[in-house]
């Protein structure tokens, strides 16, 4: 295993992968508890529009992706709280709409298909030093905010109305939460791709929930499963020349299946 760490690009890949695993699993635990799993998929596709714009306009795609994901998250949250729309339908509209826009933008640009492909399915081995710095700065801020408000977010996930009546600023925290999720998703699509990031957020948390432990233990297990999934996925990817995003997702899927079978009644 150690010889693969001799390559600079693998060192960057492991560093980025582990940071993303940490971010995706902690935010993913709240995403699952709040039944926002579809939200993560939708924001990943919205981020893709940002990537497409970035590729065409010549800006750093990750920055525009962060901006687009945040914009969509706020718009979705606004629509959900101000209109009596079915929230899963709102997500479905955004998901397919965003994907369609991204595809159109890229097809107009013509020559950028390969780059977009790497953002769809992830390209952890192409992670640059600049990407790592961006992931660490924004990921660090997101993680600090998530942990700062974790007890409030946990209460809201348990019962939003009771949390509100106890004096917690539910509306503000809901907006903050979707913003953090949007940022983490936009940062992650370089590593696992927009089609697969939802899985890295949701599956470690769902796996951890099978063990029926308290909140802190569930979150720690989700982090452990995500990091295990990323490391083993990257090893498979390296030794068998497979796409990294897909092998990471299959690894967390294997962990989920194991957790499900190990805890069946």
């Amino acid at each position: 295993m150690l010889e693969i760490l001799e390559y600079d690009f693998m060192q960057r890949a492991f560093l980025a992968g582990i940071v993303i695993a940490l971010l995706a699993s902690i935010s993913g635990t709240f995403v699952v508890l709040r039944r926002y799993s579809m939200m993560s998929e939708t924001l990943a596709h919205s981020a893709l529009v940002g990537v497409a714009v970035g590729l065409i306009a010549g800006y750093n795609p990750m920055w525009i992706a962060v901006f687009m994901a945040i914009f969509s998250a706020w718009l979705i949250e606004y629509l959900r709280s101000h209109f009596s729309l079915y929230s899963d339908a709102v997500l479905a509209i955004f998901l397919s709409g965003a994907l369609a826009i991204a595809v159109i933008i890229v097809s107009l640009g013509g020559a950028f298909n390969n780059s977009l492909f790497s953002y769809l399915f992830g390209s952890i081995l192409a992670v640059s030093v600049e990407d790592i710095i961006t992931i660490c700065i924004f990921g660090g801020i997101s993680l600090a905010l998530l942990l700062t408000f974790s007890k409030e977010l946990y209460f809201i996930a348990y019962d939003e109305e009771v949390a509100q009546t106890s004096g917690i600023k539910v509306k503000f925290l809901n907006f903050l939460f979707v913003t953090i999720v949007a940022v983490i998703i936009a940062l992650s699509i370089r590593v696992v791709g927009s089609l697969l990031i939802g899985a890295l957020m949701v599956m470690p948390a769902i796996s951890a929930l099978q063990y029926k432990k308290g909140f802190v233990n569930t979150m720690l297990m989700a982090v452990f499963f995500a990091i295990m999934g990323v490391i083993s996925g990257m090893l498979f990817s390296f030794y068998f020349s497979l796409p990294s995003g897909a092998t990471i997702v299959l690894s967390v899927l294997a962990i989920f299946v194991f957790s499900l079978l190990a805890n069946r009644r």
């Binding site: 109305e161 106890s166 308290g214």
Partner: protein, 254 residues
């Protein structure tokens, strides 16, 4: 001078939803250490009223004051503990031990970045002891019986050391023995801890001797100041229709 300040002061409250009058001209006051039961038929507006008292929905017209302050200016929500209707029907997969749940009651009291204080720990321990769930602290809420879950939820509400406890029929899925134990706990909280209790229930016969006043809500409000005598079957039948027989039987069996 025997002056008691009202915790809730509700004046001329109206609530209209999609052209239907849900609540009409509701006025009342609730005072410190009172035990109020609220009854009324399903769809009669009980839960709507409670939601407005908690600031979860806004009245179409009228005014609610809490501790003398307008709703929009009231900040001390930690003084109010709320146990909703679905309290005993918690999602079985939710990753929470009884202690996790009771700790939630301290969330709004704790400052950002601060660790649990001695007061936080004491409040949680004392809430668990009062509700007799200390021995269940490490159990997952999904594994508890209906009655145990209900006690855990009230312990959560008590952990913020509220002065008023609002309970919206938290009895769903709870057996009779647990219910009776629950009524006894509410009585103790009211008599010994002087906690004001506002309790929406269908089961008013059993607690008739504990409560100070009975509010019947069916679009309009009727306030009964002597509930243990006034609960005649005729009145209940008028309010409930056929459901009254069940309520009256409880009363007679008590």
């Amino acid at each position: 001078m025997n002056f008691k300040a009202a915790i809730f002061d509700v004046k001329n409250l109206n609530f209209v939803s999609k052209g239907h009058k849900i609540l009409t001209n509701i006025s009342f006051e609730i005072f410190q250490a009172e035990y109020i039961a609220i009854i009324g038929p399903n769809g009669g507006g009980k839960t709507t009223l409670i939601r407005m008292l908690l600031g979860l929905s806004k009245p179409t017209s009228g005014e609610i004051k809490l501790y003398g302050k307008k709703m929009s200016h009231f900040k001390r929500w930690d003084k109010i503990g709320y146990v909703p209707q679905r309290a005993s029907l918690v999602d079985a997969a939710f990753p929470a031990t009884v202690e996790d749940i009771v700790n939630m009651g301290r969330t709004s009291k704790r400052k950002l970045f601060s660790k649990k204080t001695k007061e936080d720990i004491e409040a949680v321990e004392s809430a668990m002891a009062k509700m007799d769930v200390t021995h269940l602290r490490d159990r997952m809420v999904g594994e508890l019986s209906g009655g145990q879950r209900q006690r855990a939820m009230i312990a959560r509400a008590l952990a913020s050391r509220p002065e008023i406890l609002i309970l919206d029929e938290p009895n769903t899925g709870v057996d009779t023995i647990s219910q009776n134990r629950f009524y006894e706990l509410l009585r103790k909280l009211n008599k010994e801890e002087k906690i004001t209790i506002v309790f929406i229930t269908h089961d008013v016969g059993v607690i008739a001797d504990d409560i100070a006043r009975l509010f019947t809500i069916n679009e309009k409000i009727q306030i009964c100041n002597n509930p243990s005598e006034a609960l005649s079957c005729e009145e209940m039948s008028k309010l409930y229709g056929i459901e009254a027989h069940l309520v009256c039987n409880h009363k007679h069996g008590h």
